[in-house]
Amino acid sequence: MRDILRQNNADLLREIELLRERLETAASAIPAEVKPCHEWIISFCAQLQATARQNLEDLNLGKDSILPYILSNTQVLTLHVRLFNQRLVGPVLRTRESDRLCLKMLRWIHSTHTLTQRIPMALSDGDFASWPQLNWPTIYFMPPSAQYRLLYLPLFFHEFGHLLYACHEPEMDELVKALQKVIAQFLEPSAQRDDRHAQSEAKRISVIVETWYEWAHELFCDAVGFQMGGLAYAYAFSMYFRALMRDQYHIRPEELERRDHPVTWLRIRLLADRARRMGFGADANVLEDTWNKIAATMGVVEDYYGFYIDDLLPSIQQTIDDMIVEAAPRAFEAHEVSAAELLRLDSTSRPTSPVQLLNQAWRKFLDDEGEYTAWEKNAIEVLINDKDLI
């Protein structure tokens, strides 16, 4: 057993060393935005190597009684190296010049909050997602086609919401717990019975209440998206999802149970409500009308099977508002989203912030789709070369 473990740990040491060498060779090609992540990874290689060396030292003690623990430590290290190799090294080594738009945007997003300023980050290909681990760099995923455009960059704000949740997890969990209690009380039957039906109903309510942990989390991230990106986030979110399948509008009750995300149509309802409360009534109506029309064309009737009812809206929104206060993401400023202000900007005007640029992009796309492609190309070039804006 000792020899088997020695082989594995020696092999891991070599593997990590190779990775470290490859990362160091690639250093000159790593963009400035990814440098902190690159440096973090190299220092983490040293930690992994130290663990492998410790395992080898423990093996040298010659004690059979501790072999099961060294085996477990070797297994933990092997999985760690595999995760590190697949999910952290990849995004850094794959970095290319065309990532600059996304990387600059992500670096700016991290710079807007004191708790995230120093968290390294990197970009990878994939559907919109993130890995917001506080003790690791945050990895953001974006579909390759969206990486060269402005329109879907606001969806990064949602992913940043996951990182803010992680930064404030104990407080956030308490707020969500309080909401879950409100939902449980609300759904509690008025008359107490003690039969099979009552037991089954109690289980159903329990499932709904637990599901709201994940849903509150996602709705918070949507609210962060709107708080930071304004209407650009709402339009990006709507456009990205509205032409997907029926499941964006309707989910069967048995599939709603412990589902990670609320039905997208419900998220649109809550986004529209948030937009309306912040003074964007007309845009909120457009958003809802669009989804209503698509749903009607498919013959879908809105139904959340008790997982959501309108009476819960005030409690849900109050909780999300409290979570926003706790997390304190950068809020958009009026001039960054106001249609009148955006219309005043001409093609030579320099945007005051990335948020204004993203809202300008959506205004341009919605008002003048034909001219949009040429405008976007120019705007991206200006953004990438502007050293002060981001």
Partner: protein, 150 residues
């Protein structure tokens, strides 16, 4: 918008717990065999702190879980809720899980963690061994989601 991060978070948390269990187990085993093992003492204390904090969090969830399926587990992510359920199921499976952690509960485990008595150290080692099995089984789901299968 994927929620794979939940699996990653759970995976990493369990990896850290397993490392802590192994670190403390090696230290306890060497002590029981007559070595002072002073060089590992600080790491073992950190491992104790980590396990203690983990059980403080898990204990509340376990209490909720023991209320049955009609009592929701509140304020916890789905992987942690599942771990609490697995822990309760293990407590009921005395054939596989018979250490003091699963027989006498979390409170007793917390006492064992800080005890210097030789018999307590042996009991703690047994508990850590079974906790490791539970965590490895729990982590299997996360590992599959995060790393896939070959």
């Amino acid at each position: 918008m994927s929620v794979q991060w939940l699996a990653v978070q759970s995976f990493q948390h369990n990896q850290d717990l397993l490392s802590a269990i192994n670190k403390l187990s090696i230290h306890l085993r060497l002590q029981l065999e007559g070595s002072n093992d002073t060089e590992r003492a600080e790491g073992a204390n950190k491992a104790r702190e980590m396990l203690s904090a983990f059980f403080r969090e898990l204990e509340t969830l376990v209490k909720d879980t023991e209320g049955g399926e009609s009592v929701p587990v509140l304020g916890a992510n789905p992987r942690l809720r599942q771990l609490a359920r697995s822990f309760v199921t293990a407590k009921r499976n005395s054939h596989r899980f018979h250490s003091s952690l699963f027989r006498k509960g979390v409170g007793c485990f917390q006492q064992l963690l800080n005890s210097d008595r030789r018999e307590d150290r042996t009991a703690l080692l047994e508990s850590l061994e079974e906790l490791r099995v539970l965590l490895e089984e729990h982590m299997h789901v996360d590992a599959e989601r995060v790393l896939g299968e070959i």
